[in-house]
C-alpha cells in the first residue's frame, strides 16, 4: 500500500459560474476553433515557408513563393494569440482546478511558453524584414525561419500536455515535472494529428489565397503560374489530410479508455469520414485539368465540419473523463463550506492559562508570555527593550504603559516598530501593565 498513489479531491472556487455551463462550453468550442485555425496557419505556414525557401536555393521561384507565405505568418500569428484569449478564459472558468493544477505541475514549461513564443515571433519579423538584406546569405536567412519553426513545433506539446494532464487527476500525484506529464499516453498521437491539420489548413488557405483575382501572380512570378501554385496548395492539403487520417486512426486506438464512450467513438468516426471526403475532393482537384479544379468550396466545408465535430468530440471526452470527479469536487466544496460556516458561528475561544502560584500577577504573566515574550525579555534587549527599561520609564505611570500597549508610537530609530495590541481588553492591559511594572519585586 505504500506505493499506492490516490486521487486528490480539491475544493472548487466557491463562487458561482458567471454563465450557464452549456453556454460556456459552446463558447469554449467555437472560440477554440477560431484560435486553432490561426495556429494551424501560423505553424503550417512556417513549415511551408521553410520547405519552399530551401527549395528556393535552387529555384528562385520558390523563394518568391516562400516570401509570399512568410508575409502571412506574422499576420496569422497575431490573430492566433489574440484569439487564444477567449478559449483560455473559458477553460480557466470551466475547469479552474483542473487546468491550474496541470499548469502548476508542468510549471517551468508552462511559463516558458511566454519567452519562447515571444522569441519565435521576433524571429518571424526578423525573417520577414531581412528578406532583401540577407539576399546574399540565404542560409543564415533560412536559419532564422528554421529556428522560429523549431520553437513553433515545440509549443503545442506544452499545451497538449496541459490539456491532457488536466483530465487525469489520478496522475497528479505521480507527475514530477513537464517531461513526466509529456510522456503520459495520448499526447504524441494527438500532436502528430495536429501537425497534419496544420498542413491541411495551410494548403487549403494557400489555394484560396492564390485564387483571388485581385492577387497579381504575374507581377510576382516569372515562370510559376497561378494554376501551378493552386495545384501546389492542393498537394500540400492532400499530404496534410493523409497525415491526419493516419494519426487519427492511431488516436482512436490509443485514446485512454477513461473518457471513451459511444458518443466519443461515433463523433471521431464521423470526423474521420469528413476528412476522407475532403481528401477525396482534394485528390480530384489535384488530378483535374486547370478548368476543372472546382471542388474548393466542398473541401473548405468538409474541413470546417470536421473541425467542429472534432472539437465537439474532444469536449465529450473531457466531459466523460471528468464528470465523476467533478461531482465529488462539488460535494467536497459543499462539505467544506458547511464546516467553514459552522466554525464562523462557533469560533474557538482562546483561553489564557494562568500559573496560579504567581498570585495576583498570574494573569499578567500569562498574557505577557503569550503576547510580549517573543520580543521582550526581562533584563536584555531582544527585539524590543527589556522589561527593566519599561519599569524605569513607566514606574509611576501605569496608565501611560497601558496606553502605549494599546497604540504604541515609534521612539527608537534602531528598533522596529512595535505592533499595537488593540485586541486586548482594558482589563487585560491592566493586568499586563501591573505584571510588567512589578517585575523587579517578583
Amino acid at each position: 500500500m505504500i506505493f499506492k498513489v490516490s486521487t486528490p479531491i480539491p475544493k472548487d472556487i466557491p463562487l458561482e459560474l458567471p454563465l450557464p455551463e452549456w453556454l460556456l462550453v459552446t463558447l469554449l468550442i467555437v472560440a477554440f476553433l477560431a484560435h486553432i485555425i490561426f495556429i494551424n496557419l501560423m505553424l503550417g505556414g512556417s513549415i511551408i515557408t521553410l520547405w519552399a525557401q530551401i527549395k528556393g536555393l535552387k529555384n528562385k521561384e520558390y523563394d518568391t513563393f516562400a516570401h509570399e507565405v512568410a508575409k502571412t505568418i506574422t499576420v496569422n500569428k497575431s490573430m492566433a494569440v489574440v484569439l487564444g484569449v477567449a478559449p483560455l478564459l473559458c477553460i480557466n472558468t470551466l475547469y479552474t482546478i483542473y487546468f491550474y493544477s496541470a499548469n502548476a505541475l508542468t510549471g517551468f514549461a508552462w511559463i516558458l511558453i511566454i519567452p519562447l513564443v515571444t522569441v519565435s515571433f521576433l524571429l518571424t519579423y526578423l525573417h520577414k524584414y531581412t528578406w532583401d538584406a540577407l539576399a546574399e546569405s540565404r542560409r543564415v536567412h533560412i536559419g532564422i525561419i528554421a529556428a522560429a519553426t523549431g520553437i513553433f513545433l515545440f509549443i503545442p506539446l506544452i499545451f497538449l500536455t496541459n490539456v491532457n494532464l488536466m483530465m487525469f487527476p489520478e496522475k497528479w500525484g505521480t507527475v514530477r515535472g513537464f517531461i513526466d506529464a509529456l510522456l503520459l499516453p495520448n499526447v504524441f498521437p494527438r500532436y502528430f494529428e495536429f501537425l497534419g491539420a496544420c498542413i491541411t489548413i495551410t494548403g487549403v488557405f494557400l489555394v484560396g489565397y492564390h485564387k483571388r483575382k485581385r492577387y497579381r501572380v504575374e507581377e510576382k512570378y516569372t515562370t510559376l503560374t497561378r494554376d501551378e501554385i493552386i495545384k501546389l496548395g492542393y498537394n500540400i492539403a492532400f499530404i496534410g489530410l493523409g497525415l491526419q487520417i493516419l494519426f487519427g486512426i492511431i488516436v482512436v486506438f490509443t485514446l485512454p479508455s477513461k473518457g471513451y464512450g459511444y458518443d466519443v467513438l461515433l463523433s471521431v468516426i464521423l470526423a474521420g469520414a469528413m476528412l476522407v471526403v475532403a481528401a477525396f475532393y482534394t485528390w480530384k482537384s489535384m488530378v483535374a485539368s486547370p478548368k476543372n479544379r472546382i471542388y474548393y468550396g466542398k473541401i473548405v466545408t468538409f474541413v470546417l465540419i470536421y473541425l467542429l465535430i472534432y472539437g465537439g468530440s474532444r469536449q465529450m471526452y473531457r466531459h466523460n473523463a471528468l464528470n465523476k470527479h467533478q461531482s465529488l469536487v462539488v460535494a467536497k466544496t459543499k462539505e467544506f463550506q458547511k464546516l467553514s460556516e459552522d466554525a464562523r458561528l462557533h469560533p474557538v475561544v482562546e483561553t489564557v492559562e494562568a500559573d496560579t502560584t504567581l498570585g495576583e500577577f498570574a494573569l499578567g504573566e500569562a498574557l505577557f508570555k503569550k503576547n510580549c515574550s517573543s520580543c521582550h525579555k526581562e533584563k536584555e534587549k531582544l527585539v524590543g527593550p527589556p522589561m527593566t527599561e519599561m519599569v524605569s520609564i513607566y514606574k509611576d505611570d501605569q496608565e501611560g504603559l497601558k496606553a502605549w500597549i494599546k497604540a504604541p508610537g515609534k521612539k527608537r530609530p534602531d528598533y522596529p516598530q512595535m505592533p499595537a495590541f488593540g485586541s486586548l481588553t482594558d482589563q487585560e492591559r491592566e493586568e499586563l501593565a501591573k505584571f510588567i511594572l512589578n517585575i523587579n519585586s517578583k
Binding site: 486528490p8 458567471p18 497575431s78 478564459l89 502548476a104 513564443v117 521576433l122 500525484g173 464562523r344 517573543s374
Partner: protein, 479 residues
C-alpha cells in the same frame, strides 16, 4: 490549499509576476495607449504641412512610419505575450485569486477580448496598409482615421483592465453583494484611470522623442521638427498627468487606510507614499523641463538628455505598480482573500481544525514529534510561500534574523510567539491561519532552515503528495 503550488525558492514568486507585469505596462502604456494617438497626430501633421502638390511630406511620413514599425513589432510580440504572460504567471503563483477574479469578471474579460481582437485587426490594418494608403489623399485620410480608431480601442483595453486592478485593491461594496457592476465601479477605478490616461500619453511622447534620435540622427531638419512636436505633445499631457497623479495619490490613503487596522500600517504605507510623491515630482518635472527646452530650442536637445527622463519615467511607472501591489496587502482581493490565497471567512475553521486537514496536498494531516519538520514545510508552503522563500529573496529565515539578530540561532518559542501577533505589528502580513500544533511545526521548520540551508521545491519539480484525508478513497467513505 486546493492547487499544487508552483514555487521559485530563490527568485521569489512575486519576482516572476513583477518582471512580466512591469514589462507589459511599459509597453502597453508607452507603445500602445500613449503612442498610437501620438503617431496618428504626427501622421496628420505630415499631411497638413505637405508641399502643395503632394498628399503628405513623404520624408516626414516615412520617418513616422519607422517609429510606428518599432511600436508594431514590439507590441505584437513582447507586448502581446507579456499580456498573456500575466495570466500564465498568475495561474501558477496565485491560482485561487485569479480563479476567483475570472468568475467575477468573466464578462468584463470577455468584452475585453472582443476589444483586443478589434485592436489587433486595427493595428494590422493601420501598419500594414500605411504605404498603400499613400496613393491618394482620400485613402490617406482614411488611414489616419484608422489610427484614431486604433487609439480609442487601445485606450478601452486599458480602461477595462484597470477596473479589475482597482477591484483587487478595494472591492468597494462587492463583498456584500458579489455583483460585477459594483466590482467594476470600485472607488479607486476612476482616479486610477484618470491618472493612467495622461501618463500613458506622456510616456508615449517620451518614447517617440527618444526614437526620433535613432531614425533622424543624420537629418537635422527632421530631427528638429520632431523634437519640437514631441515636446509640444509632452507639454500638453505632463500637467494633466501631474494633476491626476496627485489626485490619485490623495484618494489612495482614504480607500486604503480603511483596510488597515492600525496606525502602524499607515506608517509602513507612509514610507512608500512619501517616496512615490518624490518620484512623481522628479519624473514629471524632468520631462517637463526637457519638453520646455524642446519647444523653444529644439536643436539643442541631445540624445542623452532624452534618455535620462526616459529612465525616470521607467522608474516612475515601476514604482507606481510597486506601490499599487504593496498597498493592497495583506489582501490579494481586498477584504475577501489574503495574499496567502486563503479566504478571510475560512479563518475560523482553520483556527479550529488547522490548515493541513483541509489541504488537498500535504504530506500529513496529523502532526507528531517525528514528522514535525515535514509538516512545518507543508505549513510554510501553504501559508508563507506565495511571498517568502526558504533561502532566497525575502526568505523566511532572513525576516526573522533581521529581528532577532543575524547569525544567532533562532529561538523556537520566540518565533512561535511572534507569528500569531505579527499581523498587528506588520499590517501587510495576513494573520497566521493555522492551529497551535501547526504553529509549533512551522517554527521548528524555520529554525531547521537556519542550519540545513535547504531550499523548498515547488510542484513543478517535486510534484505533489496527496493528503490522504482529501483523497477520493477517504472522501467517499465519509459521504
Amino acid at each position: 490549499m486546493d492547487f499544487p503550488l508552483f514555487h521559485l525558492d530563490w527568485l521569489n514568486n512575486r519576482f516572476l509576476i513583477a518582471v512580466i507585469a512591469i514589462l507589459h505596462v511599459l509597453i502597453n502604456h508607452g507603445l500602445a495607449v500613449g503612442f498610437i494617438p501620438y503617431i496618428t497626430w504626427l501622421e496628420y501633421k505630415g499631411v497638413k504641412k505637405a508641399p502643395s502638390n503632394q498628399i503628405t511630406d513623404f520624408e516626414w511620413d516615412n520617418f513616422i512610419y519607422k517609429k510606428m514599425k518599432v511600436a508594431f513589432i514590439i507590441t505584437t510580440t513582447i507586448g502581446a505575450m507579456t499580456g498573456v504572460g500575466i495570466w500564465f504567471s498568475a495561474a501558477l503563483i496565485s491560482p485561487t485569486s485569479i480563479g476567483s477574479l475570472i468568475r467575477v469578471f468573466f464578462w468584463a474579460w470577455f468584452i475585453e477580448w472582443i476589444v483586443f481582437v478589434t485592436e489587433v485587426v486595427l493595428i494590422l490594418i493601420y501598419f500594414l496598409t500605411w504605404k498603400n494608403a499613400n496613393k491618394s489623399l482620400h485613402s490617406k485620410m482614411r488611414h489616419i482615421r484608422f489610427g484614431w480608431f486604433l487609439a480609442i480601442f487601445s485606450w478601452i483595453t486599458m480602461a477595462l483592465i484597470v477596473a479589475i486592478l482597482g477591484f483587487m485593491m478595494d472591492p468597494g461594496n462587492w463583498n456584500n453583494d458579489h455583483s460585477l457592476m459594483t466590482g467594476v465601479f470600485n472607488p479607486i477605478y476612476l482616479p486610477q484611470l484618470l491618472f493612467r490616461t495622461p501618463t500613458a500619453m506622456l510616456v508615449g511622447g517620451v518614447y517617440g522623442l527618444t526614437l526620433a534620435f535613432f531614425f533622424a540622427r543624420k537629418n537635422k531638419k527632421l530631427l528638429k521638427r520632431s523634437v519640437k512636436l514631441s515636446s509640444k505633445w509632452i507639454l500638453f499631457w505632463a500637467p494633466l498627468s501631474l494633476f491626476a497623479a496627485f489626485n490619485y495619490w490623495n484618494v489612495l490613503p482614504e480607500a486604503m487606510i480603511e483596510n488597515m487596522s492600525t496606525a502602524v500600517g499607515t506608517m509602513d504605507f507612509q514610507e512608500y507614499y512619501d517616496i512615490l510623491k518624490i518620484v512623481i515630482i522628479v519624473a514629471i518635472s524632468s520631462v517637463l523641463i526637457l519638453a520646455l527646452f524642446g519647444v523653444f530650442t529644439p536643436s539643442k536637445i541631445k540624445m542623452w538628455m532624452v534618455i535620462i527622463p526616459c529612465f525616470f519615467v521607467f522608474g516612475f511607472l515601476g514604482m507606481f505598480e510597486r506601490v499599487r501591489e504593496f498597498i493592497r496587502k495583506p489582501y490579494v482581493i481586498g477584504g475577501y482573500m489574503y495574499s496567502n490565497l486563503l479566504r478571510v471567512e475560512d479563518y475560523p475553521l482553520y483556527k479550529k481544525d488547522g490548515i493541513l486537514k483541509h489541504a488537498t496536498y500535504a504530506t500529513t494531516s496529523e502532526i507528531t514529534e517525528e514528522n514535525k519538520i515535514e509538516a512545518g514545510r507543508d505549513v510554510f508552503m501553504l501559508t508563507c510561500s506565495r511571498c517568502h522563500t526558504a533561502k532566497g529573496v525575502n526568505s523566511i529565515t532572513y525576516v526573522f534574523e533581521r529581528m532577532y539578530g543575524f547569525g544567532k540561532p533562532l529561538d523556537v518559542a520566540s518565533v512561535a510567539g511572534y507569528i500569531p501577533n505579527m499581523h498587528m505589528g506588520r499590517t501587510y502580513m495576513p494573520p497566521f491561519p493555522g492551529n497551535e500544533k501547526e504553529l509549533d511545526a512551522l517554527a521548528h521548520f524555520i529554525k531547521s532552515l537556519q542550519t540545513s540551508g535547504e531550499s523548498v521545491e515547488g510542484a513543478q519539480t517535486k510534484g505533489v503528495k496527496i493528503n490522504q484525508v482529501n483523497s477520493v478513497e477517504q472522501f467517499k467513505n465519509r459521504l
